[in-house]
Symmetry: C2
Subunit: 95 residues, 2 copies
């Protein structure tokens, strides 16, 4: 599998892993999103920007469907925010 | 590094790798996007949906800035389209 397909398939696996823990499968609850932030973000900068303690603010930003749950499309918006923060961090580290 | 951070960092690396080949660094040209599709997509379904021969149609879809180049934000939209197609394929394969 290519680097791009490996990255995409691991994002799908991650979403399924955390969204399957409780409640509706295929949807991330606030608690599941919080657990993902706690377990999957190790860098201090990313953990500050996507603070597990402020998961409800993040969830509100992502939750276009206004059902208090994060579907896969909304999860991809989170991945985009995370990737853009990571890209910016890398560019600044090179200055 | 966690699974999520590994996926995100490889997306950033991929973008930098392909956008650095010609012209403006940090922006994917049509030729660079086409090369990425050719080299990074192996599954027939994904290759059909994101056909290298129709890269200009894809570029038009992604290119919100209308500068005929794909910046990192627009690349993340491509990754979202790809991830959603992959997620759908996996769900259908389970039926």
């Amino acid at each position: 599998m290519s680097k791009l397909e490996t990255a995409v398939s691991s994002l799908v696996e991650l979403f399924k892993e955390y969204s399957g823990k409780e409640g509706k499968k295929g949807q991330l609850s606030s608690a599941e999103l919080k657990e993902m932030l706690e377990k999957e973000l190790s860098s201090p900068e990313l953990k500050e920007k996507f603070n597990p303690e402020e998961v409800d603010t993040l969830l509100k930003d992502l939750d276009k469907g206004k059902d208090n749950l994060i579907n896969f499309r909304e999860f991809c918006r989170f991945v985009t925010l995370l990737a853009r923060a990571y890209y910016k961090m890398e560019k600044e580290a090179k200055k």
